[in-house]
């Protein structure tokens, strides 16, 4: 019930955020923020209620985990929007939020983790990976905005995006910071997953498509971060990397949802 309230609020936020891109009315922006906040609060309560009901963190199956990731994404979105004064950010984040929450609410498998798997490390593994994924959703949004603004500036024909999107440097900083935020979480999450896997699953984890895809995503992000820190990568190259990395992450989740494996349903 509460999850549905959250979903409706997110739909509203998505619609308003996209409308705000076209029509610069303050009221639309305010409705966007309010519905996002309302959705997030409902989502929070729903998650807590679910945790109490299940007697464990509500991240025991992939759909549950995605729902929590969405929760973190919305929180980050609201925070970054305030911090960077990027009012159009929602237009690039909420569609992703919406797709993910629809995905999470449409598939409802039973808890994946058997009692033998339910160690504290597993929960931390999942939670950390989720925060990482959430940061990379924002990373992706920043990269898309960067590429759009860059195109406008190169084409020399100012359009909606030129006027509405923040400066390139701001967007570049945004993608860098979200990468720097997400990477340690993803890394620690993956390492914990790997460490706790052999004792629980034996060696089969290498044949799990989710593990494979997430390692690919991790490699892409690691490469980007190294390029940024060591070689001073900026701008387009970093933005493309963010998009490719996110595609790998989506594949990761897709692999978990659609293909059999230890993570899948």
């Amino acid at each position: 019930m509460l999850l549905n309230v959250a979903l409706v609020a997110y739909v509203c936020a998505t619609g308003c955020a996209l409308a705000y891109l076209v029509q610069r009315e303050e009221i639309i922006s305010r409705v966007t923020s309010l519905s996002a906040l309302a959705g997030w609060v409902a989502h929070t309560v729903a998650l807590i209620a679910r945790a109490v009901e299940l007697g464990r963190p509500p991240i025991g199956s992939l759909p549950e985990a995605i729902s929590v990731a969405v929760w973190v994404v919305v929180l980050l979105e609201m925070w970054i929007e305030r911090q960077y004064q990027v009012k159009v950010l929602g237009a690039f984040v909420f569609p992703v939020v919406l797709v993910l929450s629809l995905k999470a609410s449409s598939s409802r498998p039973a808890a994946l983790l058997g009692p033998t798997l339910q160690s504290a490390w597993i929960w931390i593994h999942i939670a950390l990976a989720l925060v990482g994924i959430a940061a990379f959703v924002l990373n992706f949004a920043g990269a898309v905005m960067y590429l759009l603004q860059e195109r406008q500036l190169k084409a020399k024909r100012p359009g909606t995006f030129y006027y509405r999107l923040p400066p390139l440097e701001t967007l570049d900083r945004l993608t860098y910071r979200t990468l720097a935020l997400g990477f340690p979480f993803l890394t620690t999450g993956l390492v914990l997953g790997a460490l706790s896997a052999p004792s629980s699953w034996g060696t089969v984890f290498t044949s799990d498509p989710l593990v494979f895809a997430s390692v690919v995503a991790w490699l892409i992000y690691a490469g980007t971060l190294a390029g940024r820190a060591a070689a001073g990568w900026h701008g387009r190259r970093a933005a493309y990397c963010a998009i490719v990395g996110f595609a790998a992450l989506v594949l990761t989740l897709g692999a978990g949802l659609f293909f059999p494996g230890r993570h899948g349903s």
């Binding site: 603004q149 190169k154 020399k156 400066p167 440097e169 900026h234």
Partner: protein
């Protein structure tokens, strides 16, 4: 009693007429006093800028007031009033309110969103206030107009985007670099517009500034005026390594910044963005450099294109501003109505309430130890009578002001009930 505006602006009249009618503040004061002296206007504000001459007033017969005002203006400049008569527009009531709101919000300006007009209207209003020709209606009107103008500026982007080439360049730089503070600028050549753009960048905090010129002395001169550093002309490539923004405005017939040079520079800079503002004609920078990653190159035509887009953006924002003004006009007309009759309604209520309380008190004192129910009943009875009696007069008063006759009605009510002088 009608609020009106009469005047001529850059659309209705040619500049030859406007420049003859335009007057300074001293003369304005004089005209205000003269016109006020004729007694045909109750309130008066006159606005005189190079783009418009307008009379805002409250008068019983606006056409007469308008004729008087312009006759005085014309006699001051020796113009035949008949010549300008056909050029004058007149707006009454809500149309006059809308007109002022649009003028102050810079929606009626030659360049939409230009910043001067609000200040000019403020000055004109201050002059009229000093000359004591402003009454309650115009005071409310102008105060509200300034608030509307501010609202338009903050709620719409009508005045946001640059409409000159040099400012458009600064704006582009901000779209690339976000903060211009601490961004290095290299100015090559001494063209007028290049210097202007460099100065704007300095004002925005750009630093340090390098100046290169074929003539060393000229480079030093320019560097001094921009608080920058002169660099030798054959050292521009080194300066380009350090710079974030390069402005070129030389008279060179061939490009002086070549694709191959920029490629080399960018190799060194890695991915640090470089923004070329090429204001020279013929161009100083090879246009192909724009295809390089993290290099942005705008020539004069590109900048003009940005200015055109900005003007269109202002037009779009102006439509939103018009809607905002329309809402404000509606609100103001309601308020104006209140300005006229509300004080009367309040004092009428107070008067009758005084009487009621006094009589209730008297009646109660005649009863020995009245029961609380008796007290309550008397209160209720007297209140009901007062409200019933007041209902029709108050409704009529509101209606009268809606019909534009509020003032004569309020005077009558004050007279009938012996209310104090109105404020």
């Amino acid at each position: 009693m009608t609020l009106f505006v009469a005047g001529l602006n850059h659309v209705s009249s040619p500049v030859e007429i406007r420049e003859q009618l335009a007057i300074d503040d001293d003369k304005l004061r004089e005209v205000l006093r003269d016109v006020q002296g004729t007694g045909v206007l109750r309130e008066l504000v006159m606005l005189s800028t190079c783009n418009r001459v307008e009379v805002y007033g409250v008068a019983d017969v606006p056409s007469e007031a308008r004729a008087v005002a312009f006759r005085h203006l014309c006699s001051l400049r020796g113009i035949d009033p008949a010549r300008i008569e056909p050029l004058i527009y007149t707006r009454l009531g809500p149309d006059a309110v809308r007109h002022l709101f649009r003028v102050v919000a810079s929606l009626d300006s030659l360049v939409i969103g230009e910043p001067q007009i609000a200040g000019q209207v403020k000055d004109a209003f201050a002059v009229a206030q000093a000359a004591e020709t402003v009454g309650p209606t115009l005071h409310t009107l102008f105060t509200q107009a300034f608030a509307v103008s501010k609202k338009v500026r903050t709620d719409t982007e009508i005045a946001r985007h640059a409409v000159s080439v040099s400012f458009a360049a600064v704006e582009l730089a901000k779209k690339i670099f976000a903060e211009l503070t601490g961004k290095a600028v290299l100015l090559i050549g001494a063209g007028e517009m290049g210097q202007l753009a460099a100065r704007h960048l300095v004002e925005q905090g750009a630093f340090p500034i390098y100046v290169a010129n074929r003539t060393w002395a000229r480079a030093q001169d320019l560097a001094r005026t921009l608080s920058g550093t002169a660099v030798p002309f054959d050292g521009v490539v080194d300066a380009m390594m350090a710079a974030d923004i390069v402005i070129t405005s030389t008279g060179s017939p061939q490009p002086i910044v070549l694709m191959e040079t920029v490629q080399r520079v960018m190799h060194e800079r890695r991915t640090r963005p470089l923004f070329f503002i090429d204001i020279a004609v013929p161009r100083d920078v090879e246009a192909t450099v724009n295809t390089l990653d993290n290099v942005y190159c705008y020539d004069i035509d590109d900048l003009k294109q940005v200015v055109d887009a900005n003007l269109r953006e202002r037009q779009r924002e102006a439509q939103r501003a018009e809607a905002l003004v329309e809402r404000e006009v509606g609100k103001f007309m309601l308020r104006l109505r209140d300005v006229e009759v509300v004080p009367t309604i309040v004092s009428l209520r107070e008067r009758l309430e005084d009487i009621r309380l006094g009589e209730v008190q008297k009646a109660l004192s005649r009863l020995s130890d009245p029961a609380p129910e008796t007290r309550a009943a008397m209160e209720a009875l007297s209140s009901a009578i007062v409200n019933k009696i007041l209902h029709t007069p108050i409704t009529k008063l509101r209606e009268s002001s809606r019909a534009g006759a509020g003032r004569s009605w309020t005077e009558l009510v004050h007279e009938l009930f012996g209310l104090g002088r109105k404020t």
